[in-house]
Every structure is written in C-alpha cells, then in structure tokens.
Amino acid sequence: MNLIKAIFLSSVGRKYIMGLTGAAMSAFVFVHLLGNLQIFLGADALNKYAVLLHSNFAILWGYRLGLGTIALVHIVVALSLWLENRAARPVKYVVNKQPYTDFASKMMVCGGVAIFFFVIWHIVDLTCGLTRPDVVNQTTMLGDKQVADVYHIVIKGIGHPVAGICYLIATCCLALHLWHGLESIFQSLGLRNKTYALYIKIVTKAAVLFLFAGMCLIPLVCMLGILK
C-alpha cells in the first residue's frame, strides 16, 4: 500500500505524475502542430495525413483513450495539489506579493482550466462535428477515393472569426501554461542540475515560442483568407 501512497498521494510522487502526463501531452501538442502545419503543403498533403491517422481503428482509439486518460489524471492530480496548496496557507499575506514568482507559474491553474474547456469545445466542434455539421461534413476526392476534406474543414472551421479568435486565445493560454510547465517537467522528474539548468531553460522556452508561433499562424492565415 505504501507504494501506492508513495506514488499517488505523496507530494513528490504526484509531481512525477504531473511531469510525466505533462510531458506526454506536450509531445502530443507538438506532433499535432507539426501535422497541422502540413496545411501549408496543400490540400492533398493534409488530407493524406488525415487518412493515415484514421487508417487503423485500434491504434486511433487506443491513442485517443490513452491521451484522454492522461489528461484526466493530469487534471485530477492538479486539482488535489491545488487544494492542498491553498490549505497550506490558511491566513494569506496582507501584502500578497508572491515574490520572485513569474506570471506564468501563477497562471498554471487558470490557464489549465481554460485549456480544458477549449479542448472540450475543440473536440465537440471539429472532431465530432456536433456544432457545425456543414463544416465538418465536407468531402473531397483523393485519387479515386472519397475522403474527408480536412484541408477545407480546417480553413472554414478555424477561419471563422469567432472560432479563430478562440483558437488564438487558447494558444496564448497553452503557451503560457507550457512556458512554465515545459521547463518544470525537467525539475519535477529530477532531470535538472546547475549545469543543465540554463540549457533546459533556453531549449524549452524556444520550443514554446515555436509552438506559439505555429499555432497562431494557422488561424491567422485561415482568417485572413491567405489559404483558400
């Protein structure tokens, strides 16, 4: 039983869980972005990629369920930590400055909640197509097969001004979350020391900036009608 406690109930054990699940989701986000950036290679490239992703039912659903579970664990553990952290200081400082604590780390919970709601909407809207069936049900011919026209789904779906702005806001939240979170993974998993600290900082911050730029670019080009 102590093993369960050591991993799921202790402060450090849960930091490992946060770090590992965070790392998995970060990896997904980067792959997702790289996949989506194929939009700049033209309709066929993106549509072909979409077909590839949907080609194996077992892998697809295994992947979806796995990612969903990881997200759920990340959220549940985060909430438990958050509640404990609040309880650890029952009387707040009158001058509540939280010194030397950067904005991103203070926004982890808020940003996380925002991302959670965005992801729900994103799945409902574009993956399930429940809100805008006309956008999602577009198809096209790839060779001699009829496939979902993901290229135009994206352009039309994200190009809509309200949706596009939502995407931009969500991207800001995600980037802020990762601005602290990505570097934090190394600390939480014990993979940081004085020598590596600076390199880890530079690499993770650069990765977040790349992600931010890439994720902003797609809604912007769609909204501005650069891609049609």
């Binding site: 930091k15 200081r89 014990g190």
Partner: protein, 255 residues
Amino acid sequence: MSKDMNLTLKVWRQKDQASNGKMETYQAKKVSPDMSFLEMLDVVNEDLIQKGQDPIAFDSDCREGICGTCSMVIDGVPHGPQRGTTVCQLHMRHFKDGDTIAIEPWRARPFPVLKDLITNRSALDRIIQAGGYISVSTGNAPAANALPISKKASDEAMDAAACIGCGACVAACKNASAMLFVSAKVGHLGLLPQGQPERDKRVWKMISQMDKEGFGNCTNTYACESVCPKRVSASFIARLNRDYAVAVAKGECDR
C-alpha cells in the same frame, strides 16, 4: 552621513496562537540609515514600553545572519528586499524617508503564529528528526582521512549544508512548500559517501514527514532560492525528486 528618516510601519499584531491578528500602524521616528532593521524595531519597542504598550514581539538571536532565528516578511518579501541577506543583516539605508513598510510573520499552516511576528517552526525540526542525519554513534567513527571525498562533492555538499533553517523558503513559496529546506539536507548528506547507506531511507522518511506536517507542494517557481539568505539552489530540489524516485523504485517505501 545620510540623514535620519521617519517611517510608517504596518505591523501584524496577534496576541497568541488562538487569537486573530491584524495590522497596526506605528511611526518610527529618527531612524538612522546605519541601523539594522531589527535595531529599528528595537527602538520602536523601547518607545512602546515607555508608553506602557506591549512591544512588538519578534524572533532574533545571533544578529549576524547565521542562526536562522529572525523571520519576518517585509513588504511581501521574506527577509526583505536585499537578496542573500537575513533580516538581521538588512540595514535601513535600503529604505527612504517617508516609506511605509508592512511587516508580517511567516505564513504557513505548519508555522502557527505564537505572537505578533513569532512563529513556531518546530515542523522543520521534526523533518530532520525523521531522517536528516547520518547514524554514527559517538566513538564509532573511522579515521577522518580513511575515505577521500572529491573536492567537488564536498563543496557542493557545503553549498547545501549552508541552509540555516530559517523557513524563508516556505514563507516565500506561493504554496508554502518546504522542499528547498528538505532538499538542502537530503542533498548535503546524499552527496557525501558517509550518507550513502541511509540515502534511500532518508529521502523517503523526510518527504513523508514533510507531507504529514501539512506543507504545500512544490510547483517549481524557484521563489525559494530567490529569498534564501544562503542562496541554496533549487537544483537541489531536482536532486531530491530524483532521489525520491530511486528510493521508491527500490521499494524503500515498504521496508
């Protein structure tokens, strides 16, 4: 010589652990820039006693930055604005005439306020008692030079061992986490060959005790190392996390 200053102090006053506290305002007049912050409070207190009022209770002892007794949050920052400095070494030349200064105690559930600015930090003692030592009874020691230790390891152990146990790391952390304190001791002893036999047990016991005391959890903001008067690095926390994972993986938790 710079001129004397007049300051307004807003100080947390709390009769005892059971009472509620609140901020009260005092005037500190003719404060010399050469005074230490605590000497400024001494002068205010002398005045309060003369008036028959209860002086502001605060902890201090060595007043040279090493015992770790002094503990107050000045304008939201533990130990005040000068980095790498305990409040007893902070001098009034860092303030300006007319300033208003807010002074509060460390705030964390495991550090209950005993009176005004004095808190009970025995939780930190209990964490050390849980395993922050090397078990060697008096007289059992092998010859000092029997075991060479690389200068690098020894110096790094000293960096961690410099912790004075003041608790500023807890006070500064937005979650009131004691990880820097714990990591300093785990790092100090874990870096030395003498500390190896109990390394896994130590980290498991100390973390378990820390959790039991009700400290918050580390979210890697590094506010702790920024306020640490001895500049203990938060990289020791990473080391602690690593040691913990190894200890758990080896099954230390069920031993």
